[in-house]
């Protein structure tokens, strides 16, 4: 027994090293899972406050661009409102289908922390559980999809960016109306890959890719990007498709968190079917 202790004592630094590494590897694996650690990320109050102070300072340097973007969006929204009112008046709709209108609710949030150059990028936003944000909600901007909420604290949330090699988004090729999957390859933050597009689909350059709405995280028809390059190798089952994201992630400033009101209902009825 004494010799055993002697052995451990002689190699104590190696065993400490081993102990620390086991803890770290366990943490890495935990963190890669969808629901993970609650405290050691940027939604942690102390870290989030430091970052949000720094982002407040940084914000001043991009105010004019931000302003232009918001003004453009305002104009676009006003146009849509006018059109909608016209349609409503023309059809004299007194009663509106409530399920259709309220199936998604939007919460606007500011990006306080963002990265595009790592392989697993995360975004921190300044809305948390106090504002009704919960894990699993979709995050979009006025230009397209952004990601999915991973963890929330009271005032901040961490979002898994689309620029994360583990993140897949169910998407639709609009012109061919064909289902596929969007995934980032970890290299260029402006482009993503479109996977599982079989040979028989007729692809064209500049085809629009939108979300499919089949996973109930993202609403249907949110912009993802446009096809800029595609290639069909001789023996390959699927196309190699490059899609340019419509949202430039390096310029992300304000986003909308989407809560799917019908998600719980949809999931529960689907689970029922799967169980049977």
């Amino acid at each position: 027994m004494g010799r055993l202790f002697q052995f451990f004592y002689t190699y104590r630094s190696f065993f400490t090293f081993l102990g620390f590494e086991v803890i770290c590897i366990w943490l890495v694996i935990q963190n890669n899972q969808y629901q993970s650690s609650k405290y050691f990320n940027t939604s942690n109050e102390v870290a989030a406050n430091i970052i949000s102070t720094s982002s407040n300072v940084k914000e001043y340097f991009g105010l004019s661009d931000l302003n232009n973007g918001l003004a453009a969006e305002n104009a676009r929204l006003r146009e849509i409102v006018v059109q909608q009112q016209k349609i409503l008046l023309e059809n004299r709709l007194s009663k509106i289908d409530s399920t259709k209108l309220k199936s998604f609710t939007y919460t606007s949030a500011k990006v306080v922390n963002n990265s595009v150059s790592l392989s697993k990028n995360y975004i921190t936003i300044n809305k948390g559980s106090d504002d009704g944000v919960a894990p699993g909600m979709a995050v979009i901007s006025e230009k397209g999809i952004v990601g999915k909420v991973k963890t929330v604290s009271r005032h901040f949330s961490v979002v898994i960016s689309v620029l994360n090699v583990n993140e897949q988004v169910s998407s639709l090729i609009k012109s061919a109306n064909y289902l596929s999957t969007t995934q980032w390859d970890g290299i260029d933050p402006q482009f993503v890959d479109l996977k599982y597009v079989p040979r028989h689909v007729k692809l064209r350059l500049n085809d629009t890719i939108v979300t499919s709405g089949y996973n109930a995280v993202f609403p249907e028809g949110i912009l993802v990007g446009v096809v800029t390059e595609f290639d069909l190798k001789k023996e390959a089952l699927f196309y190699d498709v490059r899609v340019k994201l419509t949202q430039d992630f390096a310029q992300l400033s304000y986003v909308d968190v989407i809560k799917s009101v019908l998600k719980v209902e949809k999931d529960s009825i689907e689970n029922l079917t799967i169980k049977k």
């Binding site: 935990q30 942690n44 870290a47 392989s119």
Partner: protein, 171 residues
């Protein structure tokens, strides 16, 4: 001794804040990253207890991970180089040996010795960091490119800091 603890505590906070607030947003061509916080570990005194060294590396790694949303990643690489640092220092002991309580620094040991000391550790740190982060060898060349450029970037930053902090070098 007391004074040096305060100085180390201060440099811990300083390196963490610089990394989290400034260097995190700095990526040249999305390829070259600067992980200056490694210098905190590299410039601790030569005769630091290895257990204490690893504990501090772990703590710093966790704090950095908190800001990078990559729990465990920086901690594991920091513990790795903390473990290898002292054997490596013993291997490259200069002929005159180390003074008691001396920190391995550029001003004190000369640039040639400092490069020999720091480059392998920085390279190893970045190598493990980027490959664990990518969690695959799928984009091997791209990641390797990242490792090389980031090692260069970090090294340049570390040399600049070392040149500037000449008076603190012997703490």
């Amino acid at each position: 001794m007391n004074r040096s603890i305060i100085v180390h505590l201060f440099s811990f906070v300083f390196y963490t804040l610089v990394q989290a607030l400034i260097l995190k947003n700095l990526a040249i061509f999305n390829l070259a990253f600067c992980f200056l916080y490694v210098l905190f570990l590299l410039s601790l005194p030569v005769d630091t207890n290895p257990l204490l060294l690893m504990a501090m590396a772990f703590l710093m790694g966790i704090v950095i991970d908190t800001f990078y949303d990559s729990l465990g990643l920086h901690a594991s690489t920091m513990v790795l180089i903390a473990y290898l640092r002292n054997p490596w220092l013993a291997l490259i002991t200069p002929q005159s040996g180390y003074e008691v309580g001396a920190a391995p620094s550029l001003r004190y040991n000369g640039i040639q010795w400092f490069l020999v000391y720091s480059i392998p550790l920085i390279f190893l740190h970045h190598f493990v960091l980027f490959y664990v982060e990518a969690s695959s060898f799928n984009i091997f060349l791209h990641t390797f490119f990242k490792v090389i450029l980031s090692t260069l970037f970090t090294l340049i930053a570390i040399l600049i800091v070392q040149f500037m902090s000449g008076s603190r070098a012997r703490i």
